[in-house]
């Protein structure tokens, strides 16, 4: 193994040591239950209160709009399923979303569809962007909810959230956004973007795994997904994961405050990678809008190459990356995201996602640009698909 380059920050991120440091007391001596009356429990309660304040400050929401969950998936399920069920009682059984949402959203919608809900999935076009007018046109009198992700996890495209939110407000429809890939990476302003509910997950912004939050606009009431004790003002039961919550808040604070500083160099490195790979590798293409995308995300398809084998060879060189190949998803179809932007199956199989972070150095970029093209060439050298391509045969 040459060197270790972690270029899969959309999958998960390292916990910042400063974050872990804040968590440590609650993994060791400060183990009190935050619901306990005695001061030993109240120490944990206070830490959670402070974490809630921190989240509120970073997200521009009120502290009583923050509800901690076990992660992004729970937040998505809770927001969508429970508002859907609540509003179904008022005869509203139609939900608008997009074709390239995360499975935490899409599978929840599918479950609701089985229960008799009607789902409209908007297209995202070649650039991977939802069109505000499509949202407007999709909303019907019986629409309860619009749920559109803030930024896509595979191709990194950033959706016109404030504009979609404005349409929803105008139409009197609830608006949820899965901001799991956005929070900590680009500015997200809960109060200022017409958002009613927002999901986030700590491990995507250098916090711990297994903790997230759903922001819920004040006054908006719907049932709990997890019923039980009176935690989170009775809306999300379960003994609080104090360490996780403290970690989430501190990671959010750190990433939001470093964002402005690191974004320009992140974008520069991302674009150097994009341009370098497109230049060095023939028959490659960038997936998703080149500008309206997360500062750390690039997603490129290489014709004639299959993604999983590419990842394995990269792994062999100490590089962690991701692909939309069917083989890596455990499913048999390539990524629904890549198909949603019109990529043919055969090309979707050959995609590579690199998601860099503030840790990624210029040398890392150099190494990636050095290592990837020969690997592509090698795989192509024994690819019957590449053979067809070079012979000008149809292969898709």
């Amino acid at each position: 193994m040459d060197r270790f380059i972690y270029a899969d920050n959309a999958a998960t991120t390292r916990i910042y040591p400063e974050v872990l440091e804040k968590m440590m007391p609650f993994l060791t001596e400060q183990y009190g239950n935050p619901s306990s009356l005695y001061s030993f429990g109240q120490n944990a309660r206070q830490a959670i209160d402070e974490a809630r304040d921190t989240v509120a400050e970073c997200m521009n929401c009120r502290f009583d709009e923050v509800f901690f969950t076990s992660g992004g998936s729970e937040a998505d399920n809770w927001a969508i399923r429970m508002t859907a069920e609540a509003l179904a009682k008022k005869g509203k059984k139609h939900i608008v979303s997009s074709v390239f949402e995360h499975h935490a959203v899409l599978h929840t919608l599918k479950a609701l569809e089985k229960q008799g809900f009607e789902i409209t999935l908007l297209p995202v076009y070649e650039n991977g962007l939802v069109r505000v007018e499509d949202v407007r046109n999709a909303i019907r009198p019986d629409t309860s909810l619009v749920t559109i992700m803030f930024a896509n996890n595979e191709i990194g495209t950033i959706q016109p959230i404030p504009e979609i939110g404005a349409v929803c407000r105008e139409k009197g429809v609830l608006f949820h956004t899965d901001a799991v890939q956005a929070v900590g990476h680009i500015p997200v302003d809960f109060a200022g973007m017409n958002i009613d509910m927002l999901s986030m997950s700590a491990h995507k912004f250098h916090g711990p795994k297994g903790v997230g939050a759903l922001l819920i606009r004040r006054g908006l009431r719907f049932p709990s997904l997890i019923e039980g004790g009176a935690q989170e003002k009775g809306r999300r039961a379960g003994t609080e994961n104090t360490a996780g919550i403290v970690g989430l808040a501190h990671a959010l604070k750190m990433t939001c405050s470093e964002m402005e500083k690191i974004t320009p160099s992140l974008i520069e490195r991302r674009d150097r990678l994009i341009n370098g790979l497109l230049e060095r590798v023939e028959r490659s293409r960038l997936n998703g809008d080149p500008v309206k995308r997360l500062p750390g995300n690039l997603n490129i398809s290489f014709e004639g190459v299959e993604g999983e084998s590419l990842l394995l060879l990269l792994d062999d060189k100490g590089i962690c990356a991701s692909s939309g190949s069917a083989c890596t998803s455990g499913s048999l179809d390539p990524s629904h995201v890549l198909l949603s932007i019109g990529l043919p199956h055969a090309i979707a199989h050959g995609s590579l996602r690199l998601t860099i972070s503030g840790d990624t150095t210029d040398e890392d970029v150099d190494t990636l640009l050095e290592v990837i093209p020969p690997i592509i060439n090698r795989l192509r050298s024994f690819s019957p698909v590449w053979e067809k391509i070079t012979k000008g045969e149809h292969y898709e």
Binding site: G304, V305, E306, E308, S309, L312, L313, D316, S325, A326, C327, G330, L332, D333, P334, P344, H345, A346, H349, S381, F382, S383, P384, V385, W386, E387, K388, Y395, E396
Partner: protein, 145 residues
Amino acid sequence: MAQYYSDMVMEHFTNPRNVGELEDADGVGEIGNAKCGDIMKMYIKVKDGHISDVKFKTFGCGSAIATSSIATEMIKGKTIEEALKLSNKAVVEALGGLPPHKIHCSVLAEQSIKAAIADYYRRQGVDPTPLVGELHDPDEKICEL
């Protein structure tokens, strides 16, 4: 370091044997579909009823490449009859196992060898079907074409 695949799969994936084409192949077989993410193409040379040389080209995941590689090793030098007996199970065993949803790769390998032999028979003017049997592409079952 933990690995997704067995050591044997990784060995054959990172150092695949018999990679390439045979310009003067006596039989060529291709199974799979780019749409499904898997294509295997086998080239064989036949001499005195034996597989005197074999090469492959594969588009596909790690296990597709590894199964192609080990399968070529397993038939090289063997008689055609022996090569036809190569089962996907034997390939899986030789690799020290495959993840459950990768088993179809071993079927691809078995079938692409059979396809190459069928092609060889056809070139000899022999109807391959009674000898080789029906060929099938596992991708047809698992991937919507």
